[in-house]
């Protein structure tokens, strides 16, 4: 095995090992700054449809920033400036005709800390549906049950749908949040270190859930746990200091990294 299969020139671009046949999200030349601080530098990648793509990298490398750019959560922050394009199914998400609320319904997101609303379990799952309106009670019941089953939570909560969501354990809360997001039928699910606040057993359940969900939608996972990325993702992108360093199928990236920087990070020599 060669240590330097293709030495990267100092000012060269990232190593991109694959070009997905069907991409769901396309990031083109994205740069993003918080005030004067550049967080993402001229970053381009494609996210394949109905696969799990993991973003890994040391803290502060910009992986969460990139994830939050995909459903325009940065809009809330006055400090953020952005250049480049992000395409969802070929359409620029920053185009003026795109409604940001509708975009976020299509690109759902699950956060690091479980954030169920202070309402009943049922109301949490129904929250997004009620925003859309026009759904009958019976239909709503069906969707809630389907979403909770998809999130592997139905059996645990079906007897107490009316009790407060804050009575659930951390792992259950996180699965409830996933069910809440699934209920509005997103095309893409963004997961921002979804298991980092959970115990090992809850983590395994979430990972299993992620693997099962990829038959329905496209998943993007940010994690600082490399074993997790190796276990659940199909493709992995390694980011460092706001740049995409290496992007390829998870198997080859972890077993045969093309760059020393990637190998050092994966084997724990830095980051």
């Amino acid at each position: 095995m060669s240590v330097f299969p293709s030495p990267r020139p100092a000012a060269g671009g990232p190593i991109i090992d694959f070009e997905p046949a069907a991409s769901c999200l396309e990031v083109e030349g994205l740069s993003l700054a918080y005030g004067e601080t550049l967080a993402l530098r001229d970053l381009s990648l494609r996210v394949p449809r109905q696969r799990v793509t993991a973003f890994i990298g040391p803290s502060g490398c910009g992986k969460s920033t990139l994830l939050r750019a995909l459903n325009r959560l940065h809009d809330l922050n006055d400090e953020v400036r952005l250049s480049g394009r992000i395409l969802l199914e070929g359409q620029d998400i920053h185009a003026p005709e795109v409604e940001v609320a509708e975009l976020r319904r299509r690109v759902g997101m699950v956060f690091q800390a479980p954030n169920p609303f202070p309402m009943s379990i049922y109301d949490n799952v129904a929250f997004g549906l009620r925003l859309q309106g026009g759904i009958r009670k019976r239909q709503m019941d069906d969707i809630v049950e389907w979403a909770l089953q998809s999130a592997a939570l139905w059996d645990e909560v079906k007897e107490r749908l009316g009790s407060s969501a804050w009575t659930l354990s951390g792992g259950q809360q996180q699965r409830l949040v996933i069910a809440r997001t699934l209920a509005v039928r997103p095309e893409v699910l963004l997961l921002d270190e979804p298991a980092s606040a959970l115990d090992p057993i809850s983590t395994l359940k979430i990972e299993e859930l992620i693997r099962n969900l990829k038959s329905q939608l496209t998943l993007v996972l940010v994690t600082h746990n490399m074993q997790q990325a190796a276990r659940v993702s199909d493709y992995t992108a390694f980011l460092q200091e706001g740049e995409l360093v290496e992007y390829g199928p998870t198997d080859s990236l972890f077993t045969n990294p093309r760059l020393v920087r990637t190998e050092n990070y994966i084997t724990g020599r830095m980051g």
Binding site: N71, L76, D78, P118
Partner: protein
Amino acid sequence: MMRAGWARLPRGEGPWPWLAAGSVALSLLMFSGLVLLLAVRGLGHFWPAPLSLVALEDGRLLAGQAVREERRADGAGRERLYLTANRDLDGAIWTWVDLEEIAAESRPRDLVVLERTRWGSFQGRLLALEEERGRVEGEAAWQALEARLDELQALRRERLRDQVVVPLVRRLERETSEALVAELGAANARIRELQARMGGTRLLLESVDGRQLEQPLEQVLRAWRPNAMSTPQKLAAWGQGVWRFLSEGPRAANTAGGVWPAIFGTVLMVLLMSVVVTPFGVLAGIYLNEVAHQGRFTRLVRIAVRNLAGVPSIVYGVFGLGVFVYGIGGTLDEWFFADRLPSPTFGTGGLLWASLTLALLTLPVVIVATEEGLARVPDHQREGALALGATRVEMLTRVVLPMTTPAMLTGVILAIARAAGEVAPLMLVGVAKLAPQVPVDGEFPFLHLEQKFMHLGYHIYDVAFHGGDVEAALPLVYATALLLVLVILVLNLTAIFLRHHLRARHGVLPRR
């Protein structure tokens, strides 16, 4: 009990916990002392105190309620203050008596106290009751008096003058109609008839030192014989006294009677203030925390709002007088009430302007509380709502505001507590020494926002400083002060109950 061999772990904190606990204990002590003082001095006023017949060494006699004792100014011996009433006979109602001069003191059961509409109380003996039907004397006179007073009470309850004549006159000021004039004439005729029926009855009274006095019955409000009353009777009389204090209007330039219009005015003004300040303050808080760009200007506004809370309240009063009363009120008068000028309608202090002034005064409190409540909602709750496709308005109304409601109510509670106790600005913008008509009645528009109103806080000030007789005013001051504290307490408890109810409904935010 702990088992032998077990010991509390040493906490090693030194004297600090004791110091902290001591300051809490001291505040509690001061607060309960305050309430206790108000309660004892204020509520004791309504107890039918025993009436002593005092015989002095020089042969004089007097009947009085012992109020207190003091060391004499020259330091030799002590003297006692008696409430001897009978202003029409003596010219004064207080008598200081040197303890050494008292030869004998007794409590005869036949001494009566009359509460009268003129000259204050009478203390002495009832000799006879004269009416057209005849004359009764002695014990029979007392029984006849009690019966007549009950009748009189029933007639007073009709309160023709307050409830029929005054509203009629007020309506006549606005419109002239034959029917109203006829109604007014009938009411006045009924009043004259009742006066004639009661006017014939006279009491023959005698003070304990033998001076006699004729007293028309219609001027007598109540009569009792304190030395002949049993404890349950006194308790009932005390309860009635408290009730009259709460439910009746003031008499004799606020030095007697009740404080109902002041209670009503205080509560109504505070409620109006809350209705104005809550939406205004909450919206301002939402704008500052959720909508505005968090730049230097927003920070400046925030600092300014917090500083407004420290501006002395009289300054708000001046502002209210200049802007609300003379500015807006004067303009309203020119536009809508020009026919009544130069007598002002809204161009003078009134309920509306007082409420608005206090709303302005308490606005910073509500804004700050709302902002703090909003800041305590974690960002991940906001992001969670947005990530489900909620617009910013939906995020606010469905997730953030329900979680903030308890904090907003806390702000309103603080605002109420501050507003109910304010007096200084009210003097400029609408409080009145005497406004026995409450500003709500059965007549369109039911709530008379332009009227002046009475206020418990101002009532205390007025009774204490503007009455001639401090000695007589003091118990009323205590009672009114106690009432003011209770009113604020009730208003606050209502808001706290509401907040608790909402918290239970929307879940509690973890404290951070």
